[in-house]
Amino acid sequence: MRWRANQFHTLLIEDWNEEYTVFQPDSGKTHFFNQMSIQMLIYLDQNPATLEEISTHLAMQFQQTPDNSFLRSIEKVLHHFDTLGLVSKLHQDSRHDDQADSV
């Protein structure tokens, strides 16, 4: 299963020295994120990815060990983002649709 960011381009993001406040117009909510959370959203906006791919990417970027514990913490954040409507699961069919659109 792959994940992608939802409407990332509509988010208003303010950088406070590697801490971020993010306004989400769809919900009208403001979120408070750290550097890794923002990087996760940026990555998922550019590349729909599986949990494993996201974890590998972030582990490399933040010099973490991509072990099971790291994977689980990323999964937790993903599900939190899903609840907030910031990311969604990309089903196989819609992935094909996306690919067709981009051709």
Partner: protein
């Protein structure tokens, strides 16, 4: 013309009939009541406010008396905003507190062209200082001391920010001291004019301080904020001010606003701009002289 320039008889007649139209910061409020004890208190405490003639009033408020169904020999008072009653009725001795809460409610729920922060605001040397805080943190008490010791009062309750111009609009109102603060302020500032103590309200005993005349005379002078200070009164604590991160200040400020979510992206951008243009601190204090020293030092170093 100021209220003190009209005789009490005329003041009372306005309250009884077409309503007393008074400028409270950027709003005009039309007050009506036939309850004479309230009229007497208002004449004393509202004396420096400007009377409004031939201007539209944003809020029409009334204090009416009503007999209790269960005890027809007793009267209560009820607050009406544009004819609607947002509260239960209250004992008549609480009329002033109910009127003041009602006007605050009207501003908090009806005004959405301005960002309304839950914050005291004073001005010094042309710069606004915000003191955002939750109820019970002593912001009204601190604000009362500051505005009678050389700072200009913009508000003890509402940080009214024009989100386009990034300016704070004054809305100087009566400052409701609560419980122990009443005696503390009477002792520290014996020269101020304060209304009667009103016991047994929802917030305990309340007494209203009349805002300084100079602050009311300058209530059309807006100011840009330079400092955001989150105050907390802690018994026996020496005055201590500590810088906080911008991100923490953002979240504290946004979560402490009346209409931040209603304004959406406008509110977000306004708070972000405000934080970027201010130095943000947390302040704990217990002694007014100490806290004044700390604030003067901060201002003089700027």
């Amino acid at each position: 013309m100021m209220i003190k320039q009209i005789p009490y008889k005329e003041f009372h007649r306005l309250l009884l009939n077409q309503g007393l139209r008074v400028a409270i910061g950027p709003f005009n409020v039309c007050v009506q009541t036939a309850y004479a004890p309230l009229a007497e208190q208002l004449y004393k405490l509202y004396c420096h406010y400007r009377l409004v003639q031939d201007e539209i009033a944003e809020f029409h408020v009334r204090i009416v008396t009503e007999r209790l169904y269960k005890n027809p020999f007793r009267q209560n008072v009820r607050f009406l905003l544009d004819g609607q009653s947002p509260f239960n009725s209250f004992p008549p001795e609480q009329a002033l507190a109910v009127l003041e809460w009602g006007i605050n409610l009207a501003i908090a729920v009806r005004v959405n062209h301005l960002l309304i922060l839950h914050s005291a605001v004073v001005e010094k040397n042309g710069h606004a200082i915000l003191f955002p805080a939750w109820p019970g943190s002593g912001k009204t008490t601190l604000c009362t001391v500051l505005c009678y010791r050389g700072f200009r009062l913009l508000s003890d309750e509402f940080g009214l920010m024009d989100p386009r111009r990034r300016l704070f609009l004054p809305i100087p109102r009566l400052m409701p001291l609560k419980n122990e603060s009443i005696a503390v302020i009477r002792s520290y500032l014996p020269e101020i004019v304060m209304g009667q103590s009103i016991p047994n309200t929802q917030k305990g005993t309340v007494a209203h301080v009349r805002p300084p005349e100079q602050s009311l005379l300058q209530s059309e002078h807006t100011a840009k904020a330079k400092w955001i200070i989150f105050p907390k009164w802690i018994a026996g604590s020496p005055a201590k001010i500590e810088a906080i991160s911008d991100s923490e200040a953002f979240m504290l400020l946004a979560s402490n606003a009346f209409n931040y979510e209603v304004l959406g992206a406008t509110g977000f951008m306004a708070v972000a701009d405000l934080i970027r243009s201010c130095d943000c601190y947390k302040l704990v204090y217990s002694d007014f002289d100490n806290v004044m020293d700390v604030l003067h030092k901060l201002i003089n170093e700027a």
